[in-house]
């Protein structure tokens, strides 16, 4: 009897694992060429319209991305592209220690994850729609999800056309 139970255990485990893999395949469906094109084009649009704000005022960058996302309405695919670039664009300034970029990245990370899940797009497929090192970026994404940045406690300071952040009191948004 014992070998039979062991066999059944093994079989169920195998079936479960196969099921998981199959589920994963279904959930992370292949991106069609058309969808990939839309994602890439919308990400480029977001970049061209918003990234220049990061130098002077990261909050304006965030607002630009939010506005662009709003324009996509219920189109989850292009909405995903906007939010994903919002995340990557912020990460690209986080790399040089731009204050506030981390919290902006976290905001768009949260947003694009919801849309990515709805559309069953894999991390790899999504990452490949914006140029860069995907192994690193995906690892950074997982790390940020594991340990999100603390709430921004700085405010933008503009002087003569250039802005930076200064320590703010806790109640400052």
């Amino acid at each position: 009897m014992a070998p039979y139970i062991e066999f059944m255990k093994f079989s169920f485990t195998l079936i479960f694992l196969i099921g998981m893999v199959a589920m994963r395949c279904v959930l992370a469906a292949e991106l069609t060429a058309s969808d990939r094109e839309k994602l890439e084009a919308t990400a480029r649009l977001t970049q061209s319209q918003c990234i220049h704000y990061m130098v002077n005022d990261p909050s304006l960058y965030a607002q630009c991305v939010r506005n662009l996302r709003k324009k996509q309405g219920s189109n989850t695919l292009t909405g995903l592209a906007v939010d994903y670039f919002g995340y990557v664009g912020a990460m690209s300034y986080m790399r040089v220690k731009t204050i506030g970029a981390d919290t902006i990245a976290a905001e768009f990370l949260k947003n694009f994850r919801l849309e990515q899940k709805k559309l069953h797009i894999s991390d790899g497929d999504l990452c490949s729609t914006v140029p860069g090192n995907c192994v690193v970026r995906i690892a950074q994404t997982l790390a940020m999800e594991k340990e999100p940045p603390k709430t921004m406690v700085k405010r933008v300071v503009c002087a003569g056309g250039s802005c930076r952040f200064i320590e703010q009191l806790p109640e400052k948004k």
Partner: protein, 670 residues
């Protein structure tokens, strides 16, 4: 084939060929002028470059980190970075790696600087970058923040006074700056270049267009000669105080570069390197990624696209990123374009190699992060933190001490604290956030807010600009602390520069712009519309206050709903808006003074973002300077400033009656 099976015969033939070749070679050598004409190889040269230091002597916020990638791996690690003393070590290390090296920069070395450099008119930064060996730099837009005369002083080229022109208002270090021995300031030891900035009065560029560096021949290698061209972006006037660029024209970048490059080539330089304060950005998420993913930068791309083959490479700036990219020039030749980051977070090294004729045949560039974090336990292989250069640490500490002394300079007197009003009784707990500081309530009009608005309007009116302003508005978030005397609680008492700086620490530029009465009402509504309403959680759904200068009054009605979407709020009683007792006409245009922070829609006030053509914005001066100037009539205890009652804004309670000043936090709240 003839001598395949006859080695002896083959040997003879080979010998004959060799001898013939030697004879031909000898003849060629003779014909070409003898053995002495054999070209001596050129040594390589290393350019150590950075940009956008912006007077950052110390590392910026320690809570923020750079992301770097371990060489040869895919691991991203976050590290602490930046600091001029650490950068000096990196620069030294990079220079040590090459016989021929030069340190260059691509602008914004000064301007928009933190307090320590700022209060000393950036002389500390000039001193330290000079000590670092910076030899040539382009101007950036921020070099013009305080005008050409001040920039010439920084360069040490204005001939007469080398000290900051006496303001007579505040914080004198040494003798109106001049931190060096005997209260002098020699100016920068580097050469500023400005190939596209012309003084209209003289029709000459304000600084040289080019700089030539000739390296000596060493160890049998010829030293190359490198020509540098420096310039800033043509649209610089749109990003700085107009007063700072009055009388100057900023020309087309590519035209200026091509003319200067041709001239340098005629002079016989081996390489032409452009230092330009303009750049782009990439989608890389780690520092030092040399693959240039997703480069975006329409302006710099267009400039490079018009350049001739005279230009060998470009050191860029302005966009505060790091990258090593290649962009096509007019002949579709790919030109290396670099940037090192900003605020001392990194340094670029560029190795130029040359062929036998002295032409550039290799450009090898890399960015090195300035890692200052000696506490990180696990660095990726190949990544190390550096120790700060000791002499820089000493200098930076010294400057910090001097700036502290400047901050203690007395700038005026007050008869009582100028408050930002403590949280009111309506706050039941320390949460929500507006109740937790114990020192500030951003939902009410405050005396310090009113004073700040008054100072900004007065400063613009005294600035000499046309249409300086009629109304000033400042958001509660821009006013940080209650202004107290250093003798508190004894009054009248003196106030210091540091005390004023603490109340308005942002060093924002002020701007006067046109707004219609309707636009003013609309932006006032944004105090209680989304997202300000939700951003501050205040009881009664009150948002962040905009406080007006004297003469402008208005009433808001707490019975009207708050938290409306932008553009749909209706709490401001339109007929209550008055300027010096005259009703505001919704269709008329008024001149409104705000900080550039607000003018950019900061703190959820997008209503201030008025199209440029209609707004006709004119910038003049900084918020802190406005405050300091405001106290020039209160420089003795006998002329001490008395805080005004915060009663320019009236709140209506649930019965439509005006709330008593100082009871807003509870009056009229549900």
């Amino acid at each position: 084939m003839v001598y395949k099976n006859n080695p002896a015969s083959g040997f003879k033939v080979a010998r004959a060929i060799t001898l013939s070749a030697m004879a031909i070679a000898a003849a060629l050598v003779t014909a070409c002028g003898g053995a002495n004409s054999v070209p001596t190889p050129f040594a390589s040269a290393r350019i150590v470059a950075f940009n956008d230091v912006h007077g950052n002597l110390a590392p910026t916020d320690s809570k923020q980190t750079s992301s770097i990638i371990a060489p040869g791996t895919s691991t991203a690690t976050t590290v602490q970075s930046g600091g001029l003393a650490y950068m000096a070590t990196i620069v030294n290390n990079l220079r040590a790696g090459s016989t021929n090296s030069i340190v260059v920069a691509a602008g914004d070395n000064i301007g928009a600087s933190p307090y320590t450099s700022n209060i000393a008119h950036d002389e500390p930064t000039v001193d330290l970058l000079s000590q670092m060996g910076l030899e040539v730099s382009s101007v950036g837009n921020h070099e013009f923040d305080k005008g050409l005369t001040e920039l010439q002083r920084i360069q040490g080229s204005n001939g007469t006074s080398t000290c900051y022109p006496a303001s007579g208002n505040f914080g004198v270090i040494g003798k109106d700056t001049c931190l060096e021995a005997n209260n002098t300031f020699a100016g920068a030891k580097w050469t500023y270049l400005a190939a596209n900035v012309v003084n209209t009065a003289t029709n000459q560029t304000i600084f040289p267009s080019t700089y030539v560096k000739s390296f000596p021949s060493v160890g049998g290698l010829r030293g190359p000669t490198i020509g540098f061209i420096g310039l800033t972006f043509q649209a610089t006037p749109t990003e700085v105080n107009p007063a700072g660029v009055a009388g100057l024209t900023f020309g087309d970048e590519a035209t200026a570069i091509n003319i200067a490059a041709a001239s340098l080539k005629k002079q016989g330089v081996n390489a032409v390197v452009v230092l330009i304060h303009q750049g782009g950005s990439t989608t890389a998420t780690t520092y030092g990624d040399a693959t240039c993913p997703g480069f975006s930068g329409p302006e710099i791309t267009a400039i490079v696209g018009q350049l001739t083959n005279d230009v060998d490479m470009i050191v860029s700036g302005h966009t505060h990123q790091d990258y090593i990219c290649k962009l096509p020039n007019a002949s579709k030749k790919m030109i290396t374009v670099t940037q090192s980051g900003f605020y001392t977070t990194g340094v670029t090294s560029i190795d130029l190699s040359f062929d036998a004729n002295g032409n550039v045949n290799g450009v090898l560039a890399a960015n090195t992060p300035v890692i200052n974090d000696t506490n990180t336990t696990a660095y990726p292989a190949g990544v190390t933190a550096v120790t700060p250069k000791a002499s820089f640490v000493t200098s930076i500490n010294s400057y910090a001490s001097l700036s502290s002394a400047a901050g203690s300079a007395v700038v005026g007197y007050i008869t009582a604290p100028v408050t930002i009003q403590a949280p009111q009784a309506g706050c039941a707990t320390a949460i929500p956030a507006t109740c937790d500081s114990g020192s500030r309530n951003k939902t009410v009009e405050t005396a310090m807010g009113d004073l700040s608005a008054d100072s900004q309007l007065a400063a613009m009116q005294a600035s000499g600009i046309a249409l300086p302003g009629q109304i000033s508005l400042i958001q509660a978030g821009g006013v940080r602390t209650t202004l107290k005397s250093t003798t508190d609680p004894t009054y009248p008492g003196q106030i210091t520069y540091a005390g004023l700086f603490a109340t308005n620490p942002f060093h924002d530029t002020l701007v006067a712009m046109n707004m219609t009465g309707a636009q003013i009402k609309s932006v006032l509504e944004q105090q209680w519309e989304l997202p300000n309403k939700t951003a501050f959680y205040a009881p009664g759904g009150v948002g962040e206050m905009l406080m007006p200068s004297a003469g402008f009054t208005y009433t808001w009605d707490s019975r009207q709903p708050s938290g409306q979407p932008t553009g749909t709020g209706n709490r401001v009683v339109a007929s209550s808006m008055m300027l010096n007792g005259v009703p505001i006409n919704l269709n008329s245009t008024y001149r409104v003074v705000v900080s550039t922070f607000l003018a950019n829609g900061g703190d959820n006030f997008p209503g201030f973002v008025v199209p440029k053509a209609a707004a006709n914005p004119v910038q003049a001066g900084f918020d802190i300077d406005a405050l300091v100037s405001y106290f020039t009539t209160h420089l003795t205890s006998g002329t001490a400033y008395t805080p005004v009652a915060a009663n320019r804004v009236t709140k209506l309670d649930t019965n439509g009656n005006a709330c008593v000043t100082g009871t807003w936090a509870t009056c009229g709240n549900p």
